[in-house]
């Protein structure tokens, strides 16, 4: 049994043209090890879903990909994470620039308490991506358009973002991330605070965004993973148990634990 899962693990993690890779990734919160020897490739312009029971390390892994774990005290990390073949934990890498290239959408919608316009314009402004008001307007409009929000908010760009509904707020957060033109977008359970209709909209959006961005999404909902992702990785107790084509993972899992989880026997 163990031999089978071992082979499954080593056979699948690599893909043809990885946008990002993780190699032998160990992560510790002070003395507690949260990730064990994770090897995973993220394919370009695909949606990779990370699934697993609570506390399995999938969010932790996601936060390794844009170094958000740096902001937490007592985190140590071993191994290597690359973006386009370059180690992102290299000392010469500028974290600020890295996070502009790898955007993030969080579990709870967290718009800034500013206007809708300013929320989307914030990223381009701080990174100096625009030279004129017109350019900024254009970026804001295209970003909102891409996030499928423009139609709903174009008459009230100057009203506070916190007045939007939860689903709209989350799509605004996606628009905000998109506005910086990232290459990768990380999503940490983006629909867990949304109702089914808003969830459907966000899922549709993720599917559309795939053509331009590489997306990694953490989700608790296996249906969601099945619906939106092309590849799925199953985490359990800090280990990457199995990764493969989404179809294969859900129809023909190679590992007993994966099978147990997706059929609802544990987790």
């Amino acid at each position: 049994m163990a031999a089978v899962s071992q082979s499954a693990m080593t056979a699948e993690p690599s893909v043809e043209k990885p946008k990002m890779t993780a190699r032998n990734l160990d992560l510790f919160y002070s003395d507690n090890q949260a990730l064990y020897e994770v090897n995973l490739d993220i394919a370009e312009q695909q949606v990779t879903a990370l699934i697993g029971p609570s506390g399995c390390g999938k969010s932790t892994f996601l936060r390794c990909l844009n170094r958000m774990n740096d902001t937490i005290d007592g985190v140590t990390l071993k191994g290597e994470v690359t973006l386009d073949g370059r180690d992102i934990y290299d000392k010469r890498i500028d974290v600020v620039q890295l996070r502009a290239r790898i955007g993030m959408v969080f579990q709870k919608p967290n718009p800034f308490p500013k206007t809708i316009y300013d929320n989307v314009a914030y990223g381009p402004r701080i990174h100096g991506l625009v030279n004129s008001r017109d350019e900024l307007d254009e970026i804001v409009m295209t970003s909102l358009e891409r996030a499928g929000l423009l139609k709903e908010v174009k008459d009230r760009l100057q009203s506070p973002a916190t007045g939007l509904s939860g689903g709209q707020q989350q799509r605004l957060c996606i628009a905000r991330a998109v506005a910086v033109s990232p290459e990768v977008i990380l999503m940490d359970e983006p629909c867990s605070a949304l109702d089914p209709i808003a969830t459907a909209k966000v899922e549709e959006l993720i599917d559309e965004l795939r053509s331009n961005y590489t997306i990694v999404i953490v989700t608790h909902s296996m249906q969601q993973a099945a619906r939106v992702s092309q590849r799925t990785a199953f985490f359990h107790l800090g280990k990457l148990v199995e990764v493969g084509e989404t179809d294969q993972i859900f129809t023909n899992p190679k590992d007993e634990r994966t099978k147990g989880y997706i059929t609802g026997r544990f987790g």
Partner: protein, 449 residues
């Protein structure tokens, strides 16, 4: 076998428990009814205790305000005496030059004394005359001079003019001196009281709004003493305090909350900031005396030194309030900014500080209000001096409102009692104003997320 037995026992116990659990509850039984009644009674009692507590607090506030107000309101009025003043050219400007310098040096005091002697011609002895001159304040001659300088055509005329009265006369008019008690036990003798009565009968005594109280500095004469010098001193002192403690306090709070690593050193700093907040203010005064006056040789009694000293005292308050405000900013906002690629400093300046600002400002204003009411440390650095001039800057000698209250409370003249209460009212008015400002700013900058 014993294992088996104990297992059976456990099973039996579990069955008893589950049987008990399954027993239906009679929600209408008298026992339950009693319990509900008891609970209602407890809630009513608790509400009543709360009301009693608020009542006591309000009563204390009312007693404070009433006692101060009832003692102090009379200080806003001042007794004036009407006299017929002859602007004798021989005294004011004997050579008819019309030169303001000459007029300014003239003996206006003499004119007033002459007018008093004419009003009460039967007064002859030296001591009686001295008492007579006490009806009018020593400051009245300055008013008279101002009048003549403003309008030189008065020279040579005779006019009836309202002159500010002396403090004892003022006290008699306000009813603080009882003319019915034994002559030896009061500040004014029978003759002085009779003069007063004659003047009242002639309609030559009246109370006017005492604007001088709000516009002049301190004085040995209660009727000439005002609060403005102390108010200006307080203003400069607080300005220096604010200019120092606000930026330093906020920067310290931001650093400790957002950037400092959590290690032993920052823990020690944290504990010591809390300790500093509890240090008696007089200790800061001694520190100020030693460091600012003895080592740095800054001017004694100056608002700049007072401000420096009070800044030390206010810093912990501002740091603690600012840290609490920064901590209350939801972490999701920081993550959103960091996730977009904002640098830590951009995250703080663009998002955290604006959101924490209402709390920071409230804490700062509370710290300032504390500093405004602080007396002890300022005594140490010489701001307790008797200063008549209104300070023109932070380096001029000055005193502050609470020290002025202390000085007046310490003065023997009866008229200073009402001045003390009036000064307290002014100080309280400033405090209410500042707290109101704190509430306003909090409401204005408050943003929801």
């Amino acid at each position: 076998m014993t294992d088996m037995a104990s297992l059976m026992e456990d099973r039996a116990a579990a069955k008893v428990i589950s049987d008990n659990l399954r027993k239906p509850v009679d929600w209408d039984s008298p026992k339950i009814a009693r319990q509900i009644k008891k609970r209602y009674a407890a809630e009513r009692r608790f509400k009543m205790y709360g009301l009693v507590a608020i009542g006591i607090a309000l009563l204390a506030l009312f007693v404070l305000v009433f006692s101060i107000g009832s003692k102090g309101y009379s200080a806003f009025y001042q007794t004036y005496v009407q006299l017929e003043i002859t602007f004798d050219p021989a005294v004011i400007d004997p050579e008819g030059t019309g030169d303001p310098d000459v007029i300014g040096r003239a003996n206006f005091d003499g004119l007033i004394k002459q007018a008093l002697r004419e009003r009460f011609p039967d007064v002859t002895s030296r001591s009686e005359k001295r008492n007579l001159y006490g009806i009018v304040s020593g400051g009245a001659s300055y008013d008279l001079r101002e009048r003549v300088l403003e309008n030189p055509s008065l020279i040579g005329q005779t006019r009836t003019i309202w002159l500010i009265s002396g403090d004892d006369f003022d006290m008699l008019n306000k009813g603080y001196i009882d003319p019915t008690v034994d002559e030896g036990d009061r500040r004014l003798n029978d003759q002085e009281v009779s003069w007063y009565n004659q003047l009242v009968e002639a309609g030559a005594v009246e109370k006017q709004f005492h604007s001088r109280f709000f516009t002049s500095g301190d004085s040995r004469e209660p009727e000439l003493a005002g609060i403005w010098g102390a108010a200006v001193g307080s203003f400069y002192t607080l300005l220096v305090t604010l200019a120092l403690s606000f930026p330093i306090g906020v920067l310290a709070a931001v650093y400790l909350e957002e950037f400092a690593p959590k290690n032993r050193f920052t823990q020690i700093v944290e504990v010591n900031i809390n300790n500093l907040a509890a240090v008696p203010s007089i200790v800061f005064g001694l520190l100020g005396l030693e460091v600012y006056l003895n080592v740095m040789h800054l001017p004694r009694s100056a608002p700049v030194v007072g401000g420096l000293t009070l800044a030390l005292m206010t810093l912990p308050t501002i740091i603690i309030a600012s840290r609490a405000a920064i901590k209350a900013v939801p972490p999701s906002i920081r993550q959103a900014a960091l996730g977009l690629g904002a640098s830590p400093v951009q995250t703080v300046t663009h998002h955290v500080l604006p959101l924490a600002m209402p709390g920071i400002l409230t804490g700062t204003i509370i710290g300032m209000a504390q500093a405004l009411g602080e007396t002890a440390p300022l005594l140490m650095i010489g701001m307790v001096a008797f200063i008549v001039d209104i300070p023109g800057g932070a380096l001029d000698p000055a005193t502050v409102l609470p020290v002025q209250i202390y000085l007046w409370a310490d003065s023997p003249e009866r008229a200073f009692v009402e001045k003390t209460s009036a000064a307290i009212m002014v100080l309280l008015a400033f405090l209410v104003l500042m707290n109101g400002l704190a509430v306003y700013l909090r409401k204005k900058f408050e943003r929801k997320w």
